[in-house]
């Protein structure tokens, strides 16, 4: 194919074919056509090249989800760089760490975040060489104004769009890291496009489709939303942060915006069922409902299928390191007596999967083991973390590298994988990966806390609750209100613990490690 597995070449191709069709749309109605999006991202490319961005560099963006962010992202790719989106809702200190960690040459920052971002970057002794400041984003206006302003001082000549090697990095997504520092999952054009092509083959998107973009851009679900829709000349409808969490508005917008391909975590679909009033809206255009990121309790899945009976439903599974690597299409009818969640299914056509034991030996079907993944979608490395990279892979006798997902599964007789749980201390909360160690590391910054131990507890309603046991220094205990406030300042919001418990001593194992098993028994 002409685009040759290069993400921005897909957009260029679509812009030639569908120049006047809507490419990106915000829920308030502002939009850009393919022609406009291509032109605005060309201007971003020109500015970045003027500022010295070259093939292989990284460029960050720190802004609300918007047309501006989409144009920024494609401009970065056109300049031959990798894009690094950060969570605008996360503490500025975390975002400063992320953008310094991968040494971005330029960061595009919305003005409301600029002051704290600069201060936090300075605090860790770093600077970002180029800063593009944007007013309040929306509709692409703020980005255009920022580019105009820079052009008045220093005109950016037209630059060539870079045709990178498919092995060049396309983006870095930072996920929770067990050491307390986020780690960068670095993925190339080839990694991403192998998944995008699988979506083309499986979902058969057309230019008349209208995709939801519910997940934030720093979350890997966005790769599907952005790069699959824009490859096919379809419209991408951006659901911003505030509306994305408001089930009543979401339900009416799905109908009003005629969404045909929906993709989100099960948590959001559960909220729609419980609080969205879905029965009030017709959704005749909806043809796929895709979900990923966590287990979908069967009760809520059944409820949404009853309210939206027409579309096909699929459970997509895969960590950020591989993107989607197995999938399972939910049958038309869910038997009334079924209580078990559906399996994660079989490998996607671009991935190979198998189950291994603790020594890395193959495990026969019907036995528990860890799911490992090989193929063109699997990451090459974590950014600048050679040790974590080598620990993440199993290299077999033929020298093939298999990514170890950390997920325990069983291969059923029909070849489907059933998810059993995690091997390590990661939990999924509302679809986000949360390393319990990162929460502990955040809480250790509090002067009154001597020891912190976090566990995840299954919860019927919300999936997982995070419970932290604390041992305080001295007799002064902070209030829980204070601990919540402290967490909100030091951790992304989805990591704020649900519950704190004070203990005189954290139980230890015979080797003097925190006894998490014992803590799980204590939670009752």
């Amino acid at each position: 194919m002409a685009a040759g597995g290069i993400l921005h070449a897909h957009l260029e191709e679509a812009a030639r074919r569908f120049s006047d069709r809507r490419a990106v749309e915000e829920t308030d109605g502002r939009f850009q056509t393919y022609g406009e999006l291509a032109a605005l991202s060309d201007r971003v490319r020109d500015r970045l090249v003027r500022w010295g961005v070259r093939r292989g560099d990284r460029v960050g963006f720190y802004m609300q989800k918007s047309v501006d962010a989409v144009a920024m992202l494609y401009g970065i790719l056109k300049a031959g760089a990798a894009y690094v989106p950060v969570d605008p809702g996360a503490p500025a200190s975390r975002n400063a760490f992320v953008l310094a960690d991968c040494a971005v040459r330029v960061a595009a920052v919305e003005e409301v975040f600029a002051e704290s971002f600069r201060a936090e970057t300075a605090k860790i002794g770093k600077t970002v060489p180029g800063l593009l400041l944007l007013g309040r984003v929306g509709g692409g206006e703020a980005l255009r104004e920022a580019l105009d302003r820079e052009d008045r001082n220093d005109p950016a000549p037209r630059a060539q769009t870079v045709r990178p090697d498919p092995e060049d990095l396309a983006y870095i997504l930072y996920t929770s890291g067990s050491t307390g520092k986020p780690k960068g999952v670095a993925l190339s054009h080839r990694h991403a496009s192998s998944f995008v092509d699988w979506c083309s083959e499986t979902l058969e998107p057309r230019e008349t489709d209208r995709f939801s973009s519910h997940a934030p851009f720093h979350f890997d679900l966005s790769i599907h939303d952005i790069h699959v829709s824009l490859k096919h000349g379809a419209a991408l409808v951006l659901f911003g942060e505030a509306v994305g969490k408001d089930p009543g508005s979401l339900a009416s917008l799905i109908a009003e915006k005629k969404i045909s391909i929906w993709y989100s975590t099960p948590s959001i679909l559960t909220l729609l069922v419980q609080y969205g009033g879905l029965e009030r809206f017709e959704v005749p255009n909806l043809r796929w409902v895709l979900f990923a990121g966590e287990v979908f309790p069967i009760k809520h899945l059944r409820a949404i299928k009853t309210l939206w009976p027409r579309p096909r439903y699929a459970n997509l599974y895969g960590p950020t390191e591989t993107n989607v690597c197995t999938w399972y299409e939910i049958p038309r009818e869910i038997p009334a007596d079924r209580t078990e969640p559906y399996p994660i299914g079989k490998a996607c056509s671009h991935c190979r999967t198998k189950v291994v034991d603790a020594e890395g030996k193959d495990v026969p079907p019907g036995n528990e083991g860890e799911l490992v993944v090989a193929g063109p979608a699997v990451l090459s490395e974590y950014w600048n973390l050679p040790e974590q990279t080598s620990r993440a892979f199993l290299v077999d006798g033929e020298g093939e590298r298999w990514y170890k997902t950390g997920d325990l599964v069983i291969e059923e007789a029909n070849g489907d994988y059933t998810f059993l749980g995690r091997r390590d201390r990661m939990v999924k909360r509302r679809g986000y990966r949360v390393e319990l160690g990162e929460i502990e590391a955040g809480l250790y910054k509090h002067p009154a806390i001597e020891e912190a131990a976090a566990i995840g507890a299954e919860d019927e309603e919300s999936g997982v609750r995070i419970l932290v046991f604390l041992k305080c220094a001295g007799n002064e205990r902070p209030t829980i209100v204070e601990l919540k406030r402290f967490s909100a300042e030091n951790l992304p919001r989805y990591m704020i613990p649900d519950e704190f418990r004070f203990v005189d001593a954290i139980p230890k194992t015979s080797t003097d490690k925190i006894d998490y098993q014992r803590l799980k028994e204590m939670k009752a």
Partner: protein, 83 residues
């Protein structure tokens, strides 16, 4: 302002979102949303509770984080709805 409304809201927040907390640590002006106590799902639960308890209906724009950041503000909103 009806002190009973504030008390009811306070008890609900303590029970649901701050298990184990001393009641006096949660004041009428303690920041709830910016203070990490109410996230989006907790806010939905709280709104559903208020609607049922006081037989009122809160529109999405009224139930936003800015209107629900303290017990004081929540109580004022409920009071205005009860009429």
């Amino acid at each position: 302002m009806d002190e009973g409304i504030k008390q009811t809201i306070k008890e609900y927040i303590l029970k649901e979102f701050l298990p184990g907390e001393r009641p006096d640590a949660l004041g009428d002006s303690t920041p709830l949303v910016s203070g990490g106590i109410l996230d989006s799902i907790a806010t939905l639960k709280l709104v559903a509770f208020l609607e049922e308890r006081y037989e009122i209906r809160l529109e999405a724009h009224e139930a936003s984080a800015e209107n629900l950041n303290t017990i004081e503000e929540i109580a004022r909103l409920v009071q205005s709805k009860k009429g």
